[in-house]
Symmetry: C2
Subunit: 359 residues, 2 copies
């Protein structure tokens, strides 16, 4: 379908549905070939409409990262939802309502959290989060005693239907290329397997959920895992391209921003499109942050990156965009720039899942 | 009123209405004493409810930074709205609808933008944006010929009721303390006055609108200005405290975040509260970014900052918070941390104006 850019006043999030659906299909094939289940992380798009591209809601297990997201997707028909962030005791009433309606998975990383689980009136799946080197949340893989104690206690709770372990190897985000990604991947999975070797409860009763977009995109096997849980891959973004998790042509989300000021003497234009659209996440190039990469506009969407055309400054609603002389010469006030952001998850969150679909 | 923190599951934006109303009143007194009008910038809160704290909507001229914000406040009763970002030609239909309903102010910084103004079917006020040293948008104060040409052309358009010039001295944000703020303030206003001295149209017909929170908070006179246009001062934030624009006790907005994981060995806890709540804006201390400062909780809100307790890492929903040993020892899962963000405008945008009011 031809894209009618004239209907966009901007700034507006634009999703290329053909690319997104291709990304979804590729990951589904990979999971199938690798013999693992796929539980896509829906924090990336937060959109029931886009969620349906992954398959029928009632047949698609998903992960989310907050209670409001779980509520959104439960109300829209998803029936198996894992909240992949450590349990917040203050959300007990919301967990109870969700557990009554759907197959709810909760995440814990401390024995104290079981006090909340014990107060649930409906069964849940309970995942113990392991930190295999990332250093954000989860019990360190080194503290096997604490992990075993928690697995055992969880296993014995009447509220717990299935016990699992959950890993997010977010340290893959600081690597570059297949070699670095493979290293994080192997190390993390080996640490999990070592842990499970001495498990106090039968390992075939423990569901192992792993996943992050770089390793799931570039690796082909997931030894020891029952399911993978990537999220960002539906859109990808500039950070993923830099890591080596995707090519430019895989990126399915951009922000269309109108030029509102031209500064030939500074080699830049200013667009309406700021921190509230792009977030302030960035890729670091030559030691300086870049918030977005300008792409070539085509009749049906966008093509490759335009060299030396990138967002280098953001305030609340303004974006400062470096442009090469050739582009500067042809840009008029009101022209659109199509810009791939550093981090698409934060862009979709900022737009609360609202976007223009193309193709 | 006593604050009942138990009703907050978090993360949740919390606004101390007593502090915010005091900040509003102070700025109103200052404007009155200085003999300038006050046009508060509502991009900071984006909330009609909070907007009413500034006075009756129909008597309160305001600034906003996007068409959707103008629409929100026009629908809620505000009658004089300046969109203080360069005009986007693609928004002509929206400008037309607004101009029919309210006193609409638009901003231009290039003669080409007048083509859009000429297609309006209702009168507007038109502001020419001047860049007096900030380097974001506006015509450089050095290019007086372009400025005069634009003022003259604007003055002659039948669609233009009043002509103004608009300045945002955002370079005050990179200063520290009254001396630095005063320097930016004086320099900017002197440059405007020099420009106006040779104006091709009567200067008493040109409305001069200036303003940013640091200069409006710390300076007492605004020579040559007709109105000031600060926004952030209603809440302030950690960046403003660092600049010296406010004290800790003036900050009226925080994010209440539940502790979801404890790491005594790393001297930190993890809260539910991430980039989607705080934005990734930061203050730089010892060369490292800090995204939020933990405050002492009191029975009716929060008190001063807790030393060495700050957010030093953010992912989408997780916040990594350094805490001193004494605090670590008493924190339990589910306890709330009340955290002043680096930049309150982006926090309110992320919450789409939703917040819990205290007092």
């Amino acid at each position: 379908m031809k894209m009618n850019w004239n209907t966009i006043a901007g700034p507006e999030v634009v999703v290329d549905s053909r690319k997104a659906k291709r990304n979804i299909a590729r990951m589904q094939e990979k999971a199938q070939t690798a013999g693992v289940d796929l539980r896509p992380h829906f924090k990336t798009h937060q959109s029931p409409l886009i969620g349906k591209w992954f398959g029928p809601p009632e047949q698609t297990p998903i992960a989310v990262s907050s209670v409001p997201m779980a509520r959104l997707f439960a109300d829209a028909g998803w029936r198996d939802i894992l909240i992949a962030i450590p349990l917040n005791p203050r959300q007990l009433p919301a967990y109870n309502r969700l557990a009554r309606e759907i197959t709810l998975g909760l995440t814990v990383e401390h024995i104290d959290a079981l006090k909340t689980v014990q107060r649930l009136m409906h069964p849940i799946d309970l995942y113990v989060e392991i930190d295999a080197g990332y250093g954000r949340t989860g019990i360190s893989w080194r503290e096997s005693r604490r992990i075993y104690e928690l697995l055992k206690a969880a296993h014995e709770l009447p509220q717990v239907r299935h016990v699992g372990i959950l890993l997010h190897a977010g340290n893959s985000y600081t690597t570059r290329g297949d070699h670095g990604i493979a290293q994080v991947h192997q190390e993390s999975l080996e640490r999990l397997q070592q842990l499970l070797a001495d498990s106090p409860i039968p390992t075939d009763s423990i569901r192992v959920s792993v996943g992050d977009t770089p390793t799931c995109s570039r690796m082909d096997s997931f030894p020891g895992a029952d399911e993978i849980r990537p999220g960002n891959y539906v859109f990808y973004d500039w950070q993923q391209q830099r890591i080596g998790a995707c090519d430019w042509s895989d990126i399915a989300l951009a922000v269309a921003c109108p030029v509102i000021a031209r500064y030939p003497e500074r080699g830049e234009v200013v667009v309406h499109g700021g921190a509230v659209h792009f977030s302030k996440d960035f890729v670091l190039i030559d030691g300086k942050p870049r918030y977005g990469q300008v792409m070539r506009i085509t009749s049906d969407g966008w093509g490759g990156p335009i060299q030396d055309a990138y967002v280098h400054g953001l305030s609340q609603e303004h974006g400062k965009v470096k442009v090469p002389d050739t582009l500067m010469a042809e840009l008029q006030l009101g022209d659109l720039l199509v810009i791939v952001p550093a981090h698409s998850c934060l862009v979709m969150d900022a737009s609360k899942g609202e976007c223009v679909l193309i193709r």
